[in-house]
C-alpha cells in the first residue's frame, strides 16, 4: 500500500516536472514560431474574411460575414485577392481524387457500421432474433460494428480530410495524388477483408485488433502510401511555419503504423502481458490516431470559417505535446483491479488525470476562439458540427479521466457505462467533427454546393438528438448495472434485468442516429452525382470572387452584399 502511494507520488511529480520542462523550453522559443504560425492558414490579407462553402445560401454566408464583422472585426483587410483565390483552387484541385475516394468510402462504411450497430443493439434486448446464422450472432456483429466504425468510417474520413488539409496547410499542391488514391483504395480493401473475416469467424480475438494479420497488410501498405504522398508534400512546402494541424496529422501518421507493428508482431505476446499490450493499443489508437486527426480538423476549420486566428497558437502546442506524452500511457486503466502489475495501473491512472492538461489547453483555446461569435453557428453547418464536437471532446476526456479513478472505475468497469463513454469520444467528438469537416470540404472538392440545405439541418438534429438519447440512456443503465453487480446481496441476474429499459432506449437513440446517417449518405450521393438543386451561393471560390472592393465594402458596412 505504502509502495503504491509512493509510486503514485513519484509518477505524479515526474509528470509535473516533465510538463514544467516543456513549458520552459517553449517559453525559450525552442518549439518554434509562436503566434505568426497561427496566421499561416490565411492568405496575406485574408484575416477577417469568413470561408464557409457549406453556408446554405449566399445570404447565409453574407450573414455569417456580418456576424464576424460585428463581433470580431480585427481591423485587418479581410481580402482574398483573385490570385490567391486561384491559388487556393489549384490546391483544392490537387487532392480531389484521393479525397473523393476516401470520403465516399467513409460514408459507405458509416452506413454499414450503423446497421451493424443497430442490429447488435437490438439483439441485446431480443436475444432470439437472427440467431440461425453464425455470421449474424451478436459476438460477430458487435466487433464488425466497432471495426467498421473505427477503421472504415473514422479512419477513412480522417485520412480524406487530412489529405485535403495538407495542401492547404502547406500551400503546396498534393504531391502524388495517385499514390494517395491507391493508398486509400488499399485501406478500403483491408477494412473489407477484415470485416469479412470477423463475420466469417476468423477474428484474431483481441478487442480493437480483431482483423487477422492478412487484412492488416493492405491497411498498412495503404496507410504508408498515403503517408508517402503527404511526406513528399511536406518536403515541398512553401509556408514559413508548420501549423499545429500539420503537427497533429504528421504525428498520427507516425504513431498508427508503430502501434500496428508492435501489436501485430507475431508470436511474442502472451497472457497478461498481451492484455497490457491490448489496452496500450486500444487506447492509443483513440488518443494518438483519432484524437490528433479530429483536433487537426478543429484547429483548421474553426479559425478558417470564422476568419480569425486561433486564440493562442502556443497553447495549441502545449496541448499537442502534453496529449502525446500523457495519453500514450493511459491504457492500463482498463485493467484496474485486474491481474496486472500494480505499478502499471498506477502509472496509467496518474497519466489519465494529467490528461486534464491537454484537454484544458484545447478546450480553452477553442472556447476563446469561438466565444462571442456563437451566432455564427446559425449560418455555418461546419461550425455547428465542429463546435459541438469540440465540446464533446472536452466532456469525453474529463469523463475518461474520472472513470480512471478507482472509486468510479469499480462501478463503471465491465458495464455499458464504458460503452456509452466510448461513443461520446468516437461519435460525439470525432464523428461530429468529421461531419462538419466534410460539409466544408465536399463543395470545394466537387465544385458543387450541397443541394438541399434542409437535409443538413435534418442530419444534424437526428444525430444530435439520437446521440443524446443513446448516451444519457446507456450511461444511466450502465451505472445501475455496475451498482447491482457490486451488491453481493443481489443475484447477478439483477444486473442484467435492470439494464433492459436502457438497452431499448439505446436502440431508439441508435435508430435516430442511423436515420441521420442515411440522410447524410443520400445527400452525399446526390452531391457526388452533381444532382439536385443547383444553387449559386457564395460557397464556391470561383463565384464569390471577393475582390478587394467588395470585401472592403463587406468589412465596412458589415452586411449582405
Amino acid at each position: 500500500m505504502q509502495f503504491s502511494v509512493g509510486l503514485l507520488l513519484v509518477t505524479f511529480l515526474g509528470s509535473v516536472a516533465a510538463l514544467g520542462l516543456f513549458l520552459w523550453s517553449m517559453s525559450r522559443g525552442l518549439f518554434g514560431a509562436g503566434e505568426a504560425a497561427g496566421r499561416v492558414i490565411f492568405a496575406s490579407k485574408e484575416i477577417g474574411l469568413v470561408e464557409e462553402p457549406a453556408a446554405t445560401t449566399a445570404a447565409a454566408e453574407g450573414a455569417l460575414q456580418g456576424v464576424m464583422n460585428r463581433t470580431g472585426h480585427t481591423g485587418e483587410f479581410a481580402v482574398l485577392t483573385p490570385e490567391e483565390a486561384d491559388e487556393r483552387l489549384l490546391l483544392d484541385e490537387s487532392s480531389r481524387l484521393p479525397v473523393l475516394l476516401a470520403l465516399s468510402g467513409a460514408v459507405a462504411w458509416l452506413v454499414i457500421a450503423s446497421v451493424f450497430g443497430l442490429v447488435a443493439s437490438i439483439k441485446l434486448h431480443a436475444p432470439d432474433w437472427l440467431v440461425e446464422q453464425s455470421w449474424l450472432t451478436f459476438g460477430r456483429i458487435r466487433p464488425a460494428h466497432l471495426n467498421a466504425v473505427a477503421y472504415g468510417w473514422c479512419s477513412l474520413a480522417g485520412l480524406g480530410v487530412s489529405i485535403w488539409l495538407y495542401p492547404r496547410l502547406l500551400r503546396t499542391p498534393l504531391v502524388g495524388s495517385r499514390t494517395a488514391a491507391a493508398g486509400v483504395v488499399l485501406w478500403f480493401i483491408g477494412v473489407t477483408a477484415g470485416i469479412g473475416a470477423i463475420l466469417a469467424g476468423r477474428s484474431a480475438g483481441l478487442e480493437w485488433l480483431e482483423f487477422p494479420w492478412q487484412a492488416d497488410i493492405p491497411l498498412f501498405v495503404g496507410g504508408t502510401l498515403v503517408g508517402i504522398a503527404l511526406l513528399r508534400t511536406l518536403q515541398r512546402r512553401t509556408v514559413p511555419h508548420l501549423y499545429v494541424s500539420v503537427w497533429y496529422i504528421s504525428a498520427g501518421l507516425i504513431w498508427l503504423p508503430t502501434l500496428l507493428i508492435v501489436a501485430k508482431w507475431p508470436g511474442i505476446h502472451f497472457g497478461v502481458q498481451q492484455a497490457a499490450m491490448n489496452w496500450w493499443f486500444g487506447h492509443n489508437v483513440l488518443g494518438l490516431w483519432f484524437t490528433p486527426l479530429g483536433l487537426a480538423s478543429i484547429y483548421y476549420f474553426l479559425p478558417k470559417v470564422l476568419g480569425k486566428p486561433i486564440h493562442s497558437y502556443q497553447l495549441s502546442l502545449v496541448g499537442f505535446w502534453t496529449l502525446a506524452f500523457f495519453y500514450s500511457q493511459v491504457g492500463g486503466h482498463h485493467l484496474i483491479g485486474g491481474p496486472v502489475p500494480g505499478w502499471l495501473v498506477t502509472l496509467s491512472i496518474v497519466q489519465s488525470m494529467m490528461m486534464i492538461v491537454p484537454v484544458v489547453a484545447v478546450g480553452v483555446n477553442q472556447h476563446r476562439t469561438a466565444w462571442g461569435h456563437l451566432s455564427a453557428l446559425r449560418y455555418s453547418p461546419t461550425l455547428r458540427f465542429i463546435v459541438l464536437g469540440g465540446m464533446m471532446y472536452t466532456l469525453a476526456s474529463v469523463q475518461g479521466s474520472m472513470q480512471s479513478l478507482r472509486i468510479v472505475n469499480t462501478t463503471t468497469h465491465f458495464t455499458h457505462f464504458t460503452v456509452a463513454h466510448a461513443h461520446l469520444g468516437l461519435y460525439g467528438f470525432f464523428s461530429l467533427v468529421m461531419f462538419g469537416s466534410m460539409y466544408f470540404v465536399m463543395p470545394r472538392v466537387m465544385d458543387w454546393e450541397w443541394p438541399y440545405s434542409r437535409l443538413i439541418s435534418l442530419h444534424f438534429w437526428l444525430v444530435v438528438g439520437g446521440f443524446a438519447v443513446y448516451f444519457i440512456g446507456l450511461s444511466i443503465g450502465g451505472w445501475l448495472q455496475g451498482m447491482r453487480m457490486l451488491d453481493a446481496a443481489r443475484p447477478f441476474m439483477d444486473s442484467v434485468t435492470v439494464t433492459e429499459p436502457y438497452l431499448i432506449t439505446r436502440t431508439v437513440g441508435g435508430s435516430l442516429m442511423t436515420l441521420g446517417h442515411l440522410v447524410f449518405a443520400a445527400h452525399f450521393g446526390v452531391m457526388l452525382l452533381r444532382r439536385g438543386t443547383r444553387r449559386e451561393g457564395a460557397a464556391l471560390l470561383r463565384r464569390p470572387l471577393p475582390t478587394p472592393r467588395s470585401s472592403a465594402r463587406l468589412a465596412t458596412d458589415g452586411g449582405v452584399p
Binding site: A276, F325, L347, S348, T497
Partner: protein
Amino acid sequence: MTARSGDVSVIKLASGAIAIMAFATGALVLMPYFTLRDTPPPDGLRPYTAQELRGRQSYIANGCIYCHSQQPRDPGTAPDMARGWGRPSVPADYVYDKPHLLGTMRTGPDLLNIAVRQPSRDWHLGHLYQPRAYLPGSIMPAYPFLFERLTGDARDGEVSVTLPPEYRVEGQRIVARQEALDLVAYLLSLDRTYPVVKGEVAP
C-alpha cells in the same frame, strides 16, 4: 532562415513523437513483457488439449469475450468470490493463453472458473442451444447454428441435448455439432481454483 527553422521543427516533431511513443511502449508493453515472461506455470494448471484449443477458437470466433470476462477480482474491489467466481486471478493463471481473453465486459458473469460452478456438459450444451430454457431473463444469444435438428433414428456416437420439457419438440432431436462439443470442452477446462502462492497475487 524561415525554411531552416521549418526543417528544425519537422525533425523536432518526428523525433519527439517517436521518443514519446517509445517511452509509452517501454512502460506498457516491454516492462510487462520482461517482468512476466518467466512466469512459471502453476502446478495445478495443465496446457489445453487439442479439443479445448479448438473450443477456444470457437469462443473467439463467436465473440464470447464481448460479454464475459475471465478475471475474477479481489474481494476489496468486487464481490466476485462471494458469487462463487473464484479467487482473484494472477498472471500465472494465463501462461497458456494465446491470445488472452481477459475481457472488458460483464453483460454475463465471469467465466474463468465456470467449470467449477457448472461442471455438466449437458447443461452447457442445452444452455448454448437456448439459454432461456435454463436461466429465465437471460439476454445471452441462442446458438442454434452449433446444433443440428434431426428426426428419425439416432446415429452412433451422436450427442443430443436434453432440453427442459417445455422446450422439447416432439420427434425432434437436437444434436450437438463438433464445434459445440469443442466449445463445451473448453468451458469445462476453465478451472483456476488451485491455490497460488500469495506473493503471486498481483498487488
